[in-house]
Amino acid sequence: MSNAPADGSTLASVRDWFANVGRIPRIVFGSFFVAAVFGAVINVVMPGSRASTVVGIFNTSFVESTLRIAVPIVFAGLGGIFAEKSGVINIGLEGLLIISAFTAVAVTHLLGGDAQSAVWIGLFAGVLASTLLALVFAVLVIEFRADQIIAGLAVWLVGLGLGPFLSIVIWGSVNSASIATLNTVTVPGLSQIPVVGPIIFDASPIVILMLVTIVVSWFVLNHTSFGRWIEASGENPSALDTAGVDVHRVRYVGVVLSGVLSGFGGAGLVVGRAGRFIGSGQTMIAGDGFIAITTYLFGNYNPLGTAAAGILFAGLDALQIRLQQIPFIPAPTELIRLVPYVSVIIVLAFVGYTRLPAEAGEHYESGEE
């Protein structure tokens, strides 16, 4: 699978992409690069100091936990792109994540909870549940012209209600029993590559799937006719209609894809890392679905930028967990925990303007006007 466009050299296409990817991802990648150089310098110049202890947080295991935390955010963010680009704003991503996480744990539990096969079946059951809920949402907004925001809110509330309720029915508590998680996949040979090897080729299959999905989504949206239909369906549906493509069908596919991908996000969270469903408060998803919406706004509907933003948020989360373990960091943990949320607001305040697809949120009926 090549992620370079057919024309031009690889370097030129990287530069092209960097120029087109949007301001936020550029800032993100730029700061990653600067931070990496800065960290390396500190480690060499003053080893053993406090500064190098802080820099020492950013090792490969930090990157690994960042990628694991990123799973629900990035999958839901990619799903949100397909829905919103096609013209349907799906603010119910949170509900899709909750329902898929719950279903994955429940099905795995009912199948015994230990065998790897049961965990895999649980994963796909979770994806199925999320897809079905997204399909209901699609019928509501496309067939029955429901208000997309209210229907999306309903999807969230349905997930928020059903997950904990059914947890109590099955386990007698809003929190589930533990299940096994998926074994890591080690690609022989490739996992020996320094730095990148252990991160990408000795990882949870969910993380690998996420990285593949990022690239595939980018390819589909930018280099296939389906990607152009999705774009037209959100920007200029009547033109798409004139060209002989069924707008409703494209939107159905867009919304259902958001269900499939969010399903991998929610189910992947529990079978890849958590190993249980936590239904207290806002459930274990705890706003990841809403952060996912922010990521694709930051990424300007580009899967690569969206993934970068999602990984950045996950990185902030992983960072606050690690900062809590360093004794001489003065800030209280409750406040460090808020860093990702505050940064979303600050970034939105400075780069607030995001251009939605022209017809996003609007119902389209063939032959109106």
Binding site: L140, D147, I149, L153, V169, L335, L338
Partner: protein, 406 residues
């Protein structure tokens, strides 16, 4: 699609409902409610079957509603009424307590919706408003004479502090929306988490009651609380609060309907350009709408501190999120907020009854909430169903009846 399924008078009668937009909203809400109950019943049946317990949905809903009012009906005996039932009872107090809080939260969301703003942040405004009111009362109470004078001074003061802090916290996403074009749905969701985390930190680090292990402020002195007058003291419900909630509803209705501010607010929501030509400052309108919305949320929080807890503690219930449901069910109409809040008050008040009497998890109410919003979101489905049954909107009023009549 035949018109002749009903005799003419029935047709006219039905047409009146389908054609009229307020009545239509009520009908749609009622239809959504019924459908939600049916679907939730099926979920309950399946859940009961899976867990090996025989849940009876009809019994559950009967106990739910009956329990919310303190069981006026004796469901399992031949006698209709429970002997010695009085409308002043603990369950009724719980139901009305929830109703009161939900009226304020629902109004907060409705005001924002009317200005075409989606304030998901009522929860955060409620958390901080409640904390501010509790702290202010704890600090000020020693300088105020006790007794009735103190009560008359401190209750309005506490509510005002809640409103100001809630309003300021609501103004933040308003200003971000107006001047930086930041989507208020995202910012308010983030601000909810920030409010909860900050309040937890402030109380645990600075304002915790040193005699307690939990994250809770010092208690508000008794004379500065909203105490039960008719209802028993322990019931956490004050009739005064309910009366204030009803007054607030009328006030919001009046402001939206009959003042120039309300006019600008509604027009900015519906027709931003028209509001501009009319001389309204669009940016300032967004900020003031969110401030008013946040102030109402802050009052809900102050009521929670002053009436329910008598202090502020962590673990504020999700009244702010339920306010969204209430407002949507009410069609964002301030007057409609009252029955919608009462409905959810009943669901909450009765959820203990189904738990104690039938062993059904009270989380069922959250399922019902989701289903209600799900079906509220699809008015067109009910209209299409109406059309299929031969109830067509009057051509004259088709404009309010909406599309779907091919």
């Amino acid at each position: 699609m035949s018109d002749r399924q009903y005799p003419a008078p029935v047709q006219r009668f039905l047409r009146f409902f389908v054609g009229n937009s307020v009545v239509e909203r009520i009908l749609i809400s009622a239809a959504a409610l019924v459908t939600a109950i049916i679907v939730s019943s099926i979920i309950v049946l399946v859940a009961g079957y899976l867990s090996g317990e025989a849940y009876n949905p009809i019994e559950i809903f009967a106990v739910l509603v009956n329990g919310a009012f303190g069981s006026p009906f004796a469901l399992d005996s031949a006698r209709l009424f429970t002997e010695g039932w009085s409308p002043v009872n603990f369950s009724m107090g719980t139901t009305l307590k929830e109703t009161t809080l939900l009226i304020f939260a629902g109004l907060a969301v409705a005001v924002a919706f009317r200005g075409d703003l989606f304030n998901i942040g009522v929860q955060g405004q409620l958390v901080l408003g409640g904390l501010a009111a509790a702290l202010a009362l704890v600090w000020v109470a020693p300088f105020v004479p006790g007794g009735l004078v103190g009560t008359l001074l401190l209750i309005p003061f506490g509510l005002l502090v809640g409103a100001i802090v809630g309003g300021l916290y609501g103004a933040i996403p308003g200003a971000l929306k107006a001047y930086a074009d930041a989507n208020e749905v995202i910012t308010t969701i983030m601000l909810n988490t920030i409010a909860t985390g900050t309040a937890f930190f402030l109380v645990s680090a600075y304002f915790a009651d040193p005699t307690l292990q939990s994250v809770k402020t010092r208690p508000i002195p008794d004379f500065a609380r909203l105490n039960g007058i008719v209802f028993p003291q322990g019931g956490q419900f004050s009739l005064v609060a309910l009366v204030l909630a009803l007054l607030a509803t009328v006030a919001v209705y009046y402001v939206l309907r009959y003042t120039s501010f309300g006019y600008d607010l509604r027009v900015s929501g519906k027709q931003a350009a028209a509001a501009l030509y009319g001389g309204a400052n669009a940016e300032r309108m967004v900020v003031s709408t969110m401030t008013l919305s946040g102030a109402l949320g802050g009052i809900a929080g102050a009521m929670w501190s002053m009436m329910v807890i008598g202090a502020w503690r962590q673990g504020v219930p999700s009244v702010g999120f339920d306010g969204i449901t209430v407002s949507v069910l009410a069609g964002n109409n301030p007057i409609g907020v009252i029955p919608a809040a009462l409905l959810f008050g009943v669901l909450k008040g009765g959820s203990n009854a189904i738990n104690f009497q039938l062993g059904v998890p009270p989380e069922l109410v959250a399922v019902l909430r989701g289903m209600i919003i799900l079906f509220i979101a699809m008015p067109e489905a009910f209209r299409m169903l109406g059309n299929r049954l031969g109830i067509k909107p009057d051509p004259a009023s088709a404009a309010t009846g909406g599309g779907g009549n091919e």
